[in-house]
């Protein structure tokens, strides 16, 4: 049995050593907000944060997260709440599937950069594919979230 700390809660899992975190979180723990998209860290749908750093959970072993703080889209933070508000205001999602990963990648950006430039946004977000093509809204919403966070 291993203990994973996800969004501040402890979960006991019995995961095989080689199992990526994505499947421990989805299939063993049952938190399905983190999505499977490619399995090879190409699309970003499975993005989560470990101690504040974004990783692709499809390609990160359970063992790398033991004892660390995992944040998924079910979690919260100042950045996530600001982003959620901006996502609402801009009606960002279409199918919504990739948005868990988009929000997590954007949250890391906002946590680490008070005034991201367009280039910063491009760099932070280019690992996350949105097949519906909501990118222009994501970009706009990130900029608005930056302002919302400052006002908060």
């Amino acid at each position: 049995m291993q203990t994973l700390i996800i969004n501040g809660q402890n979960y006991q899992v019995d995961a095989p050593e080689s199992m990526p975190l994505l499947w421990a979180i989805r299939d063993l723990i049952g938190l399905t907000g983190t999505k499977f998209g490619c399995g090879v860290a190409q699309c970003g749908a499975c993005s989560i944060m470990i101690d504040g750093t974004v990783v692709r959970s499809c390609s990160t072993m359970v063992s790398q997260a033991i004892g660390k703080n995992i944040t998924t889209v079910e979690g919260t933070s100042d950045s996530l709440e600001a982003l959620r508000q901006a996502w609402r205001d801009n009606s960002v999602p279409q199918c919504g599937y990739c948005q868990s990963g988009q929000l997590i990648s954007a949250a890391e950006l906002l946590d680490s950069n008070e005034n991201p430039t367009d280039e910063d946004i491009d760099n932070a977000m280019s690992g996350n594919i949105c097949r519906c093509g909501t990118y222009v809204r994501i970009k706009k919403a990130i900029k608005e979230a930056v302002e919302l966070k400052k006002q908060a």
Partner: protein, 737 residues
Amino acid sequence: MKNIEMKRRDFVKILGLASGGLLFGCNVSEDKLVVNTLEDGISFVPNLFIQLQKDGKVIIVVARSEMGQGIRTSMASAIAEDLEADWKYVTVQQATGDAKFGNQNTDGSRSIRTLLNPMRKMGAMARTILEQAAAKKWDIAVSSCKAENHFVKNSTTGEEIFFGDLVEEAKSIPIPLDEDIILKDKKEFKYIGKKVIRGVDMEDFLHGKANYGLDARLPNMKFASIARSPVTFGSVKSYNSSETMEVSGVEQVIQLDRLIPPAGQFFGMLGGVAVIANNTWAAFQGKNNLNIEWESGLNETYDSEKFKEKLISRIHNKAKVVPPFRGNVDKAFKNADKVIEATYTMPHLVHAPMEVPNALAWVRNGKCDVWAPVQDPQTVRAEIAHFFGFAIDDITINVMLLGGAFGRKSKSDFVVEAVALSQKINAPVQVVWTREDDIQHSFYHAQNAQYLKGSLDENGKVTGWLHRVAFPSITSSFKPMSNYIAGFELGMGFTNNPYNIPNLQIENAKAESHLRIGWLRSVSNIISGFGINSFVDELATVSGKDAIDFRLDLLGKDKISNEKSPHPFNVARLKNVLLEAKKLSDWGKQLPKGHGLGVAIHYSFYSYVATVVEVSVKSEKVKVENIYSVLDCGMYVNRDAVINQMEGAAIFGMSLTMFGKISTKKGVVEQSNFHDYQMTRMIDVPNIHVHLVDNEEDPTGVGEPGVPPISAAITNAIFNASGKRVRSLPLSDHGMV
């Protein structure tokens, strides 16, 4: 009560006729429509789509699949509009697959086009009953009762009563006659055409609570991953699963035979070797560890590059001439001042929705329950009945959210797989495709080649137009040996060429299929949109005219076609979107060095689109800087969702233009994941400007029409920026991305 029951049924039947039989074209069972027999006994249920509870909560049933187009929100808001419901009381319930809901097939950009008025009528019917209920309660004339934002008001006294407090009274009110159900005046709209409605799934999306097919869970469910023949329609010769069984979590390995659909319907399944495990990862690992010898079969020879050459040679020779036959192209070419010709090609494409194909099925006690992301749940149901022998009423298709679809999820093969496995293992099992499975075993958009030949007179006017096209038909997935393009495919831009050309000839060349061919967002409009818009641009260049002026002239006089169609083609609307795009893009403006503008127009799914693209070309590399798209889809419901669709269509079109290519060697698809089947990413994204034409026309398609003009608008812009004419896609083949 009997009287009411009859009338309710009649209402539905009348509505069915009024909507062209689309909504309720089938037998509607009586009990589903009767108000007072509902189990809870506390709600008012005037029809299949609305349930009003005493606390005022309105549950609206949406029978179309949500795949990002926002249909759950727009259908619900159409009903809420005419119901005079307050949006804050509205929740949405997804319908299961059932013919009683009418046609549920979510494709062809037609949900709003065909269902806006029928759904509004459902709302209006309930509103009328609530007004009558209030009149009865107050014992006043119904003309003094007016529903407004979840209350009925007494216009004489100003008194008002909450919708929820009318539930009991409403139950005893007979269904109003059809002529007494009046739709709201458009001027009074507060939801339809407005911007403010928040999507019904928004909070779930933002908190990871939205339930897609892949999120369906049952106690003690199993997970399955299937190895399928690398060559389409190959079969298992032998396999060894000993290494698979060593994977922790793997429980069993099962061989699945291919299920071949009967001619003309259904999808069947490819078959292969399935690994059943207690989690998805173990199933994937188990599959990777299988040792399988395949019998590849007839498609083993399929090499898409060689096939491209074959298609090109075919379109360079005379093919089957198809209607419309207009004038005499040979004569036009002979008498021309100038004749030009060009050949265009595009490879196979795949949908690659972010959520891979998947389905959870549970077969037990002669019943079959499915939870899956499907665009066409009734076909899924019928297909399961056909292959597994269940009575249709014993099959329940729970339609989950679709994490993207783009046509992939109207094919039910992945559901058939899950049902076959659940039946074999007597447990609920979720079949999960890997991304590699999705890229390599899809129903592909067809590889294609087009030859165009056109003639100009001495004034630069187009006198003749020959258009030969070849691509494997979607029909081949339903009927073997279908080696020519079907009429419905040619009808997407080829045979309904919008230009006023006196001598026009369309030819259909042979093309066999060696992969499963299917429809992908915008279907063969992608092909015609690229070919025709590229060639018109080439003609304009040769004639020395401005690309927009040339098109306006070529479209000819304003007229509405006399074709038999629910929405006849109106050339004035196509010209109008082109003029609007000219304005929006500031066409003709001074551009930085290395930049160029390109234009394209396309009519599809009864909607009119014009797109102008600005690119920059630097050291042979193309960057899309701006996309300006104008859409005339008539009346629309959710303004912001329509704009979002157009933005998404631009990105979808960019992805296929820059990178989109599925190729095969020895029958095997060469691409496998997003590293070699690439998508447009944030770093590539241009500014996207969308303008919607506001008019009172009937609503037409939105999800697909934005895609077809993109490719040619980009390549035309590249020509204007660099002088290089790109006639084969994707741009990555030319080292331009």
